[in-house]
Homo-oligomer: 218 residues x 4
DNA sequence: GATGAATGAGGATTCATTCAT
DNA sequence: AATGAATGAATCCTCATTCAT
C-alpha cells in the first residue's frame, strides 16, 4: 500500500504518522477521523500505527503535545531576549501569527478540535494556554514598568494587567482562528495581525495607566 | 421510559427535544452525541425524535437555528433604539453576555461545535456572525460620528471601523467562550465582560480618531 | 392528510386501501413497501388501515385473494361455455391477457411478488395456479377429443396433456410477465399474445396426436 | 463463531460469502435477508462481509454477476461447436437445465429475486437474458437453414424466429422456475425438460416453415 | 519492521404496531 | 368513523482494536 520505501526508522515513521494524523484530525475532527484514514494518509498499515502510538486517544494526545510544543517553541524563538518589553511582545506576537499561519492544521487541532472533544484533551490545551498567558502577562507588566516607573497603585494594576493579557491572548486566538479559515489574497499577513493586536495592547495599557475608562453611567 | 406525562402536543415535545439536543451536543460534540442519549435526555423514544426531526443532521441544524435566532433576538431586545450609539453598543454587549451566560450550552453549540463539524453547519453560524458584525459596525460608526463630527479622513476610518468591529466581536466571542468554560465565583459577570470590551472599543476608537498607533519601528 | 371527503363507508374505504396496497406492493415489493406509504397512498391514516386490515400480512393476503379472484373471474367470464373447445381455450387466453394487461399491478403482485416473499403467500398463489392449470387441462383434453375421436392410447395422452397444459400456462405467465414489464407501442396486444400461445398449444397437440417427436438420438 | 478454520485467504473467503449470500437471498429475498444472517451462514463476522463486499447492494450485485456468468459459461460449455444446429440447441438446453437444477439457489436469485427488487439489479439480469436470447436465436436460425435451404420468405421468418427464440427462452425459464420449486421424485430431469422444449421449438419451427397456423376465425 | 485477516461493540435509521381520544 | 402520539425491535453499516505471521 505504501508507495514509499519500506524499513523506515521508527522516529521518522512516527513523525509521518503524526503529520498524517494532524492533517486528518484538522480536516475531519477527532471523532470523524478514522484510524483507517490516518493510516492510509501516513502510507502505512493500521497495525503499525497501533504498534507505535497505541490508541486513538494516545495518538491524538501526541498530536496535541507536538503541536503545542512547536507553537511554544516558535513563540519563544521569536522573542529577542534583550530587547525592550514592547519589542519582545511584538516579536512574540509575530512569531505566533507566523507559526499558526505556517501550520494551520496544527492550530486547528489545538484550538478548534482539542477544546471541543472533551476532558483529557481540553486540559492539555488549557495548560499550554496558561503558559502563554503567563508569558504575555510578564511582558506586559515589564512594558508597563518601562513606560511609567512611578505607577501608583501597583496591586490594582496587577489584576488588570492579567485581564489585559487574557484579552490579548483571546483576541490573538480568535484572529488566528479566523485567519485559518481564510485563504487567498484577503488573508491578513502575520505582520498585520500582530500590529492590530499591539495597538489593542497599547491602548489597553494606556487605559490602565491613566485610569481613563468608559463607564455606563457616563 | 419518560417519567413525565405522555401525550404531549407536538410543538411542546419538539422544544423538549431541542433542549435535550442542545445540552447533549454541547457536552459531547456533534459526533460523540448519540441519538439514543438525546432521546433519553428528552424523555422520549428514539423513533419519536426521528419522526419530528428527521435525522441527526436536521436535528443539529434545528438546534443551531434556534440558538442563533435566540441570540440575535436577545441582543436586539437589549439595545435601546433611541439611546446614543455608545449606550446602544454597551447595552447590546450586555445583552450578548447575559444571554450567553444564561444559555451556555446554546453558545457552546454555536461557537465551539457547529464551527468545527464542517460545512453545512459552519455556514449557518457564519451567516449569524456576519449579521452581528454588521450590526456592531453600524453602532461603532455612529458612535464615532457622535464623538467627532468633523472627522477628516472618513474613508480610511470606514475600513478601520470594520476591523475594529471584527476584533470586538472576536474578543466578545472569545470572552464568552472562556466564560462558558468557567464556573463558580471566578466567573466574570456580564457587566464586567461588557465593560472590559467597551474599554477596548473606546480605546480602539480613540486610536482611530487620533491616528495614534504603535509601530514596530517606533 | 386525506384530500378527499371523510366518513366514507367501510366497504369503499377497504377497496381504496387495497387499491393503494396493490399499487405499492407492485412497485416496491412486499418488504420494501411500508404501511406508512400505503396509508398515505390510500389517503387515510395508518391506524385506520390496521383497524380494517389488521396487519401487513393480512393486508397482503387480502391483496392476493382479491387479485386472484379477479383474474379467475375474468378468465371464466371470457370463455363462451357452449363453443367448441379450441374456441373456449382461445377466449380464455384472450381474457387472461386482457385482464393482466388491464391490471398490471395485480399481476405483478401475484406473479412476481407473492411467489418470492415466501411461504404463507406462495401457497395462496399456487392454489390459484392449480385451478387454472386444471381448467386448461380440461379444455385441451376436450379439444383433443373433438379433433380425433378414435385416439388410441388415451392413458399416455392424459399425462402428456397435463404436461402441455402446464407448459402452456407457464408460457402464458412468462409472456404476461414480460408484457407487464413492457410499455409503449412495442407491447404485444392481448390478441397477439393469445394467438402465439394457441399456435404453441396446437402444434404441441399435433405432436401428441401424431407421436411425432424430436429426439436427441435422431 | 465460525466452526471452520480461521485465517482463510481473501479469495476463498469471498467465495464462501457469496455462497452463503446466494443461499440466503434465494430463501428469503433481497430485503428480508439480513446481513447478520448471511455473515452467520458464511461462518464469519459481519464486518468481514462489509470489508470484502462493501454493502448489501454490492453483495447482491456480486451474487447476480457470479451466477449469471456461471450460467452463461455452463450453457456455452455444453454446446458442441461443430455439431448440427439442432444438436447444438439440444445440448445447450440440456446444459441450461442441468446447471439450473444443480444450482437452484443461483437460479432463484437470478430469476425470481433480482428481477423483483428493482432497477440496478433487474438491468443486470436483462443483459444476461438478452445474450442468451441472441444465442438461441442464432441456433434456431441455423437449424431452420439446415432443415430447408430453399426457404422462400426469409425476411418474415427472421422476425418470427426471434419470436420463437423469445418464447423458447421464456418457456425454459418458466420450466426451470417451477423445477426449482419442486423436489422429490416428481421433479423432471434435465433431459425431460430439454426434450419437452425441443419439441416445442421443433413444432414452432414447423409452423414457421409451413405457414401453418391456428387462427380464431378458423 | 510490517501486514493481511478478523471481530465486538455501538450508532443512525426504519418499521410494524398500539393507544388514547 | 378516524387520527395524532408513541415505541420495541430490527437492520445496515462503521470503527477501534487485536492476532498470527
Amino acid at each position: 500500500m505504501g508507495v514509499q520505501g519500506k524499513r523506515v526508522p521508527r522516529a521518522v515513521r512516527e513523525q509521518q504518522m503524526l503529520d498524517a494524523a494532524v492533517a486528518t484530525f484538522a480536516r475531519r475532527g477527532y471523532r470523524a477521523a478514522s484510524m483507517d484514514e490516518i493510516a492510509e494518509a501516513a502510507g502505512v498499515s493500521k497495525p503499525l500505527v497501533y504498534l507505535y502510538l497505541n490508541s486513538k486517544d494516545e495518538l491524538f494526545t501526541a498530536c496535541i503535545r507536538r503541536e503545542a510544543d512547536a507553537l511554544k517553541a516558535a513563540v519563544r524563538a521569536a522573542v529577542e531576549p534583550d530587547a525592550p518589553a514592547d519589542r519582545q511582545l511584538w516579536s512574540g506576537l509575530l512569531g505566533f501569527f507566523e507559526h499558526t499561519a505556517a501550520h494551520p492544521d496544527g492550530w486547528t487541532v489545538l484550538y478548534s478540535q482539542a477544546r471541543t472533544v472533551g476532558e483529557p484533551f481540553a486540559a492539555e490545551v488549557a495548560v499550554m494556554r496558561a503558559e502563554i498567558v503567563a508569558f504575555v502577562t510578564g511582558l506586559i507588566a515589564a512594558a508597563a514598568r518601562d513606560a511609567d516607573c512611578e505607577a501608583a497603585d501597583q496591586s490594582l494594576a496587577d489584576r488588570e494587567v492579567a485581564a489585559l493579557a487574557h484579552a490579548l491572548v483571546g483576541a490573538a486566538e480568535s484572529l488566528a482562528g479566523w485567519n485559518a479559515g481564510t485563504t487567498g489574497p484577503g488573508r491578513p499577513s502575520g505582520k498585520e495581525s500582530a500590529a492590530t493586536l499591539m495597538n489593542f495592547a497599547w491602548s489597553g495599557l494606556d487605559n490602565l495607566m491613566t485610569g481613563h475608562r468608559w463607564t455606563p453611567s457616563r
